[in-house]
Amino acid sequence: MSRSDSPFGTAPTPWRGVSFEERMATVDFRTGERAHITVDSEVCRSCTTQVCVTACPADLFAPTADGGILFNYEECFECGTCYMVCDNEGAITWTYPDGGDGVVFHHG
């Protein structure tokens, strides 16, 4: 079985139908002015896997036409997945947002 195929079929259910925007709209983000993620797109251009794009649960990373990575720091769960899975040292620099900024989980 290919991992990209769901074994559960593709029949739409009311719950599968939650769009990503609706999903993210349920989360309380208090976006700060300082970007707590920076990406060195020069490094990303040499990256063949760009695994951050699919692994990030907030979908903050997008490949660009010239092989780089475009990213958002707003609406970040601050989980750390991106820098943990990154194959290229120095591509992603990640710190915590400033105190009080960023995601606020109410049902975590």
Partner: protein, 444 residues
């Protein structure tokens, strides 16, 4: 390295201890110190305790017995877990081991579902009531060291102010930048971590009672294996008072390699025929994600350096051993032990790593490190290919073979059904026997 510390930093406002992170580890550490009469401040980067935290989840309360007597009378509980189910699944099958206990629904209870915004706030309030100070919306941005490299405080993002202390207790979670700065954790090590993603879904309280066979205030904990498209990990479902938490944990490197998006794995679980009817008509209240340190004993950092100890997820204390998935109790146990060890070190005038070594000895003498050490080989067995990709389907087919009535053909017999199910999933009986022995050695 082992030079005993002097009287402490010379700033007049120096604390006996600075605790970084107001999660259960940090609040337990601060509580222990405050009760011992030590001056202690907790630095929390979120606007309130728990605001950055996500878990499944269930808190197992036994660890609280010695810390907050009759804690169950005041803890912000959602439901008391009386049903514990382990579900092995394929796309169209499921086989559950489902245990129910009346005893778990009465004092002193076993496990409870609760939400971290409430539970962590409650724990932090215990610490502040005992005299600890809590600074929220404040990031500890780095360590302050003295001339010989001992940790003597933390820098913060509050106008660059530093907090001096005899000891820093790093309870700053799975990404612990303080443990990384101290050289205790590698900068990034995906293979020791899983990503947990969770949806909290709204359902009326009575609907939850009816669908899950629960009486008021009773809850269920369902753990799933075989629902993550072969990516090592599993699914979970926990009932809260008027919400249900459903989610998936997935091995980080395997998730990354698979290029499957995390929310797709939750959609699989929610759409499974054994789960979907539970959730009919539920609406999404909150989506969340968090990393989990699942490497266990062999991936834990050293627990102390001169002037600093590490507890909770920052020390990889989460127990992810398949049958047992526990984190908050390990955080509380390690944090409280850290606080007591720091008190002893201050009393003895030696806050070096040597002076702080009673911390580790304490943990080895109780469940925190005893369980981790005993189950040190569990994570690799449970995340192995056969357990993840073959056994759920094998066991489901075994159940199907045993329970499908084949009239007019006679019943096939257990050995034949087992052989056939094993062969269908590419497992030899020798491998099955070897894994059984391996499992017994770990869990027996």
């Amino acid at each position: 390295m082992v030079t005993p510390m002097g009287p402490g930093p010379d700033e007049p406002d120096a604390f006996d201890a600075v605790v970084v992170g107001a999660g259960p580890a940090g609040s337990a550490a601060a509580l222990a110190l405050a009760r011992a009469g030590r001056s202690v401040v907790i630095v929390e980067r979120g606007p309130f305790p728990g605001s950055k935290n996500v878990y499944g989840g269930v808190v197992y309360g036994r660890v609280l017995d010695g810390i907050v007597p009759d804690w169950w009378e005041e803890v912000p509980v959602e439901r008391w877990v009386v049903r514990r189910s382990t579900m092995m699944m394929t796309g169209s099958q499921s086989l559950s081991i489902d245990y129910r206990s009346d005893a778990w629904g009465a004092p002193p209870f076993n496990g409870m579902t609760t939400l971290r915004s409430r539970f962590d706030t409650w724990m932090a309030a215990k610490a502040t009531a005992a005299g600890a100070r809590l600074l929220t919306s404040t990031v500890a941005t780095g360590l302050v060291r003295d001339g010989v490299g001992r940790v003597v405080g933390v820098r913060t993002d509050r106008e660059g102010a530093a907090l001096g202390a005899k000891v820093v207790i790093a309870c700053d979670g799975v990404n612990s930048f303080l443990a990384k700065e101290a050289g205790l954790l590698p900068p990034a090590e995906a293979s020791h971590h899983t990503l947990g993603v969770k949806e909290v879904l709204e359902l009326p309280r009575e609907v939850i009672d009816d669908r899950f066979g629960l009486r008021p205030h009773e809850g269920v904990d369902i753990e799933m294996i075989g629902c993550t498209r072969g990516i090592p990990g599993g699914g979970f479902l926990y009932t809260n008072a008027d919400t249900v938490s459903v989610g998936v944990v997935a091995s980080l490197p395997h998730l990354a390699e698979s290029k499957v998006r995390p929310e797709e794995l939750i959609a699989d679980v929610k759409g499974h025929p054994a789960i979907a009817p539970y959730l009919r008509g539920a609406s999404l209240r909150e989506y969340s994600a968090h990393l989990i340190p699942e490497g266990g004993y062999d991936t834990m950092p050293p627990l102390a350096v001169d002037g600093m100890v590490v507890a909770g997820d920052a020390a990889a204390m989460t127990l992810a051993a398949g049958l047992w998935l526990e984190g908050v109790n390990f955080a509380i146990g390690s944090g409280f032990a850290a606080g007591r060890a720091v008190d002893r070190a201050i009393a003895g005038g030696d806050c070096s790593a040597r002076g702080l070594r009673s911390y580790r000895a304490d943990l080895e003498g109780q469940f925190v490190l005893a369980d981790h050490k005993r189950l040190r080989k569990a994570p690799s067995l449970l995340l192995s290919d056969r357990v993840q990709q073959r056994y759920p389907g094998l066991l489901c087919d075994l159940a199907e073979g045993m329970f499908t009535v084949t009239n007019p053909a006679p019943k096939p017999g257990g050995l034949r059904v087992t052989r056939s199910a094993a062969a269908r999933h590419g497992v030899t009986l020798r491998q099955l026997a070897a894994d059984t022995v391996r499992g017994l050695r770990i869990f027996g």
